[in-house]
């Protein structure tokens, strides 16, 4: 039985165990969607940010966070969503990138930096350069099959060396 706050596990450590519902190889912290964990006694507030505006996993993330913190003895759990600043793949941790690659998902490169107020240029030709390496055999020069993949954050690519298709997390 948990009765005082001193016996509770650090809520940040509890939050750190919760995985992403669509990419369970990553924790929410690896993904960079956990912005803040604040607690007082048995009350805890977790602030998260969605990856994409319509991310259908958001509700499940909230439920999983609540369940994990309730199981750890927190009686009052609030999960807040903030939209600003907008999530970027640059927030995925080094650990997260390694786990993605180990699971066969090519991690994202640096997100495009667009300083200034100028219009965003069109990209009419699919990038074919060595940018994305095959997560299976490490070969460069993989080709894009589709810019949209099975989840909002990924695209589909194929490796010309080992012929394997794979997912790549898009830089945003």
């Amino acid at each position: 039985m948990v009765s005082t706050s001193t016996e509770l596990i650090d809520p940040a450590a509890v939050v750190a165990t919760v995985v992403d519902p669509e990419m369970p190889m990553l924790t929410l912290a690896d993904l960079g969607v956990v912005r803040r964990v604040e607690s007082e006694g048995d009350a805890v507030t977790v602030t998260i940010t969605p990856t994409y505006s319509g991310c259908p996993a958001l509700d499940e993330m909230r439920a999983d966070l609540r369940a994990a913190l309730a199981a750890a003895g927190y009686r009052r759990v609030e999960v807040r969503t903030v939209f600003s600043p907008a999530w970027s793949t640059d927030w995925i941790t080094e650990d997260g990138r390694r786990k993605l690659a180990e699971a066969g998902v090519a991690p994202p490169g640096r997100a495009p930096q667009r300083p200034g107020a100028g219009p965003i240029p069109l990209t009419l030709d699919a990038p074919t350069a060595a940018g994305v390496r095959c997560p299976h055999c490490g070969a460069p020069g993989t080709e894009e099959l589709s810019r949209f993949g099975p989840t909002a954050c990924t695209e589909l690519r194929r490796c010309p060396a080992c012929r394997e298709p794979f997912e790549h997390m898009k830089e945003i």
């Binding site: 995985v19 499940e60 600003s84 009419l124």
Partner: protein, 298 residues
């Protein structure tokens, strides 16, 4: 505790999560902390609620049209792309409708705005409601114009004095950059493809073109809010959109259609609630379930 998800995502449906069920419906109790942010100083409450509806309805209605391609697209990859695009826009719509409902302050929520308004209460442009009737060329022409325009609009909206509009804009710009590139590349493949694909892409542009002029027409609400630093005057996006479309058309060996703009009714069109008959059909499909089961959550 999440081992079940690693084995099979469907196992997650059986987990006890209280009244939430993964992948079904809405019922989200938290639309985002920013939704309840105070109004920017000196901004008219009704104007801001209306402007959020305009941008929200564009995204909501068009996401319904895009979703019609699910299980109907020519290839699985295109189906996934169009569904993802629809999902991004639906996400933008939800935040904008929630903000509109909060600003309005009449006790409505995003679901009531989506499911219980009649067509004359919607504020989307006609481009968003056009049915492309299973013609992939038309779907690409519509998406090319819509995403080029909305990207230019949201890019300028990033500095809005309203924190919700600014947040939606910053996030939306990243999403729409992908949508526009997708549509532009398909316009290239079809326009610069076979004689038949060129002919059909050309016909699709002719079909969508009369709806372009409305995108740059400034309503009174937009004019007032643009002056207050909250909204973007859509007329100011025209030069950028023209430039983008011209570049795509040139590369795709297509020419700019010579089609006159669709007429208005006494100067009124989508922003004033005057719509084509197509909107009624979109709403009939979108709203029927919620209206048959008014109190249901799922």
């Amino acid at each position: 505790m999440n081992a079940a998800h690693e084995d099979n995502v469907y196992d997650g449906l059986a987990d006890d999560h209280g009244d939430t069920h993964w992948a079904f419906g809405t019922g989200f109790e938290d639309g985002g902390a920013e939704i309840t942010a105070p109004l920017p100083a000196g901004v008219d409450r009704a104007d801001l609620a209306e402007y959020c509806l305009m941008l929200g309805d564009d995204a909501l209605v068009y996401s319904q049209r895009l979703a019609e391609w699910v299980s109907n697209a020519p290839e699985l990859e295109e189906e996934v792309a169009l569904a993802n695009t629809a999902l991004d826009l639906l996400g933008q719509a939800r935040v904008l409708l929630a903000r509109s409902a909060h600003v309005e302050g009449a006790g409505r929520d995003e679901d009531q705005l989506a499911y219980w308004r009649t067509d004359a209460e919607f504020r989307n442009v006609a481009l968003a409601e056009l049915g492309n009737n299973g013609d992939f060329g038309k779907a690409i022409a519509q998406l090319l114009v819509f995403s080029s325009w909305r990207l230019a609009l949201l890019h300028k909206l990033r500095g809005s004095a309203d924190p919700v509009l600014a947040a939606v804009a910053v996030k939306g710009v990243k999403e729409l950059t992908y949508h526009r590139d997708y549509a532009a590349r398909w316009a290239l493949r079809l326009g610069d493809g076979t004689d038949e694909s060129h002919r059909r892409m050309s016909a699709a542009l002719d079909w969508v073109w009369p709806r372009v002029a409305e995108l740059f027409r400034t309503s009174d609400v937009e004019r007032r809010l643009a002056a207050a630093g909250v909204a973007v005057d859509p007329a100011e996006t025209q030069a950028e959109v023209d430039e983008v479309l011209d570049e795509v058309l040139r590369r795709a060996t297509l020419s700019r259609p010579q089609r006159p703009p669709a007429g208005t009714i006494g100067g009124r069109s989508g922003r004033q609630g005057v719509h084509t008959e197509a909107l009624g059909r979109v709403l009939a499909e979108m709203q029927s379930l919620a209206r048959q089961h008014p109190e249901a959550t799922w």
